[in-house]
Amino acid sequence: MPRRSRLHIPQHHSRPGEEPDFSYLETSPAGAVPRPDVNARVRDIGNLSIDLVRVLDDNHVAVGQWNPHLEVQDLQIGLRHMLLTRIFDDRMQRAQRQGKTSFYMRCLGEEAVSVAQGMALRPKDMLFPAYRNQGLYVVRGRPLVDLMCQLLSNTRDMCKGRQLPVMYHWAEGRIFSISGNLTTQFPQAVGWAMAAAIKGEDDIAVSWIGEGSSAEADFHHAMLFASVYMAPVILNIVNNQWAISTFQGFAGGEQRSFAARGPGYGMAGIRVDGNDFLAVHAVTQWAAERARTGAGPTLIEHVTYRGAAHSTSDDPARYRPKDDYEKWPLGDPVLRLKNHLIALGEWSEERHQALAQELEVHVTESWKEAVQYGTLTDGPRLNRDLMFQDVFKEMPEQLRKQREQLRTEQGV
């Protein structure tokens, strides 16, 4: 038989109505992957990009060299931040359904990524997030009211009504403005890190994209500049298996891990269980120290699952089994950390219930305050003149004229 070339089409593992099938997912037992020195040579640590770094085992015990040995108090704070992120998400989703805001995106099932990483970094490290990293804001302590006001495009909106909901920014908190255009932040984070190195400062830059976004050319620009200049940066790919309706195989995850692109570019690559709070924290600490001490950048792939719809405009029942998330082999990050704390004797169902209730109240109170400043449909509105500001530092004549024209048009 003569051989012929053929076009390979990545195949989804299960479709609506079928049994969820995660047999494609390669994992390692908790504790199995050794932790190398932070300045190990890239060629000596290739396995880190193939294996899966995990710390929490099936009995909720932290095992192996990657155990970050965090204080109980920090674990409890991590749990609190993750739970708050989830409760906040649920409430904002409902607000969108009630027509109070136009759009929302949850990070259900991915809370450990932003929360553990945010906690493992220093407050002055510069963050270049994607749209599903709201946990970073929770860790860095931005009041929920401020986030809600952005979602409502109201009179206290940090973006002055210019951005789609969830596209936050926070200059003092060192969190960069989120773009609607995927992956643009990746090379920018590298440039920020290069500047830190040029200035001789030891702050690092950290950026996040989804696995789908790693297809964009900007991913490759970032990887190349980071490795050429050994920039003090951590580049994260959050592999939540889905990019809207498209399975991670279409981003190139079928033949090899995303983390393996790190060594391909000559930089460290780590594949981590993204639902394991301790493992995420540990690899981030490792990568941060590596970056801060001049040993170069790291690409981290977080293996996780997008538990929610892509956004409030999406219906995943069209493209994946309804119970896919329930069957996800790496579990729920909140539940896993909770069970770990219980196993340590430092937490209980009662305390968990009480915490959830406290956070619910906090979210509800914040919401009550936020809507006083206006919603998409009611209440005080931003001054429309704001539309013309910040296009340039100084408003040119042409925009001033257009502002006047709008005032006339609106009869003010």
Binding site: G161, Q163, L164, S213, T246, M387, F388, V391, Q398, Q402
Partner: protein
């Protein structure tokens, strides 16, 4: 005749072309199994297979670059860019390659690529789901640029675009997908099923690229527009009771100067409307051309009404959008000028 909305009409065009020509292929993000985020390619992968309707990685530069290669190798690719706001990563492939391949190879290489992309605001999409970048593409010689305003034209123009041996960027005004929209967001939505241009033949037909259409006859002034602005112009003319002639440009490149200028010479007045930002927008080209051709027949300066020269702000969508109020004010100014 069947009634279709613009989504169904576009889908029908692609269905027909996939069936007629085995070289037609489609590629884009979420277009296959899922059928596209606006469902424009719904059912096509199921019907024609995964080798004809390809889901792609999220890489617009890769999509257009690969489409060019496929086109050079004999296929007739129809690429979807999920939102016009996300076409920029593909711009080098479009500007430097797709648009110039025929010229630089003296006609020996060319790629019959169609790029479909939804554009325009009015869906609360914020600054990255609302843009109208058509003017940028008209400035690059070597690509055709079209934008339909009705289901009938959408289907006929898309078939023509796919059959065209030159590259075509096909802008889909997404606010018109489900019905004509006159810019008044408070009015209930009007479906295409109640509109004469929602009548779309089931079978093959084309609407020629390069022909404008007079959508409303009139003698007092010529309103030149395309996409969503057609309906805003109609609403403004109706509100003021002005006997305006309204021309749907449909094809920006090549431009039907004849139809436009014949009308302006007849009416002596002209207002140009588009949703895109005003400065260096396609309206500037229209205005210059009309001025050159019709100067001695003009009774008043040509008017232009457009989006403001700012990004599309989420909270001020309706203050940004050149709605009936702004168009009516501009129309009045053109009518009252000496």
């Amino acid at each position: 005749m069947p009634q279709m909305n613009m989504i169904q009409a576009l889908n029908s065009a692609m269905d027909i072309m996939l069936a007629r020509d085995p070289n037609v292929v489609m590629l884009g993000e979420d277009i296959g199994y899922f059928g596209g985020v606006f469902r424009v390619t719904d059912g096509l992968q199921k019907k024609y297979g995964e080798h004809r309707v390809l889901d792609t990685p999220i890489a617009e530069g890769g999509i257009v670059g690969a489409a060019i290669g496929m086109g050079v190798n004999g296929l007739r690719p129809v690429a979807e860019v999920q939102f016009a706001d996300y076409i920029y990563p593909a711009c080098d492939q479009i500007f430097s390659e797709l648009a110039r391949l025929r010229y630089r190879s003296a006609g020996d290489f060319w790629a019959p690529v169609t790029i479909r992309t939804p554009c325009g605001g009015g869906i609360r999409g914020g600054q990255t789901h609302s843009q109208s970048p058509e003017g940028i593409f008209t400035h690059v010689c070597g690509i055709k640029v079209v934008m339909p305003s009705t289901p009938y034209d959408a289907k006929g123009l898309l078939i023509a675009a796919i059959e065209d041996d030159d590259p075509v960027i096909f802008f889909e005004p997404k606010r018109l997908y489900n019905g004509p929209f006159d810019g008044d967001a408070n009015k209930p939505a009007v479906p295409w099923s109640t509109h004469p241009k929602g009548e779309v033949p089931d079978g093959y037909y084309t609407v020629p690229i390069g022909k404008a259409e007079i959508v409303r006859k009139g003698s007092a002034v010529t309103m030149v527009a395309y996409g969503t602005m057609i309906y805003v112009c109609e609403a403004a003319a109706r509100a003021l009771g002005i006997d305006a002639e309204i021309i749907d440009v449909r094809s920006m490149v090549p431009l039907d100067t004849d139809t436009i200028c014949t009308s302006v010479k007849k009416t002596g007045r002209c207002l140009i409307a588009h949703e895109a930002t005003r400065f260096s927008g396609f309206g500037a080209e229209l205005s210059a051309t009309i001025q050159e051709e019709c100067f001695w027949d003009l009774e008043a300066p040509i008017g232009r009404v457009a989006g403001w020269d700012t990004p599309y702000p989420h909270a001020f969508e309706w203050e940004y959008f050149p709605g009936p109020l702004r168009v009516a004010a501009a129309l009045k100014a053109v009518m009252e000028a000496a």
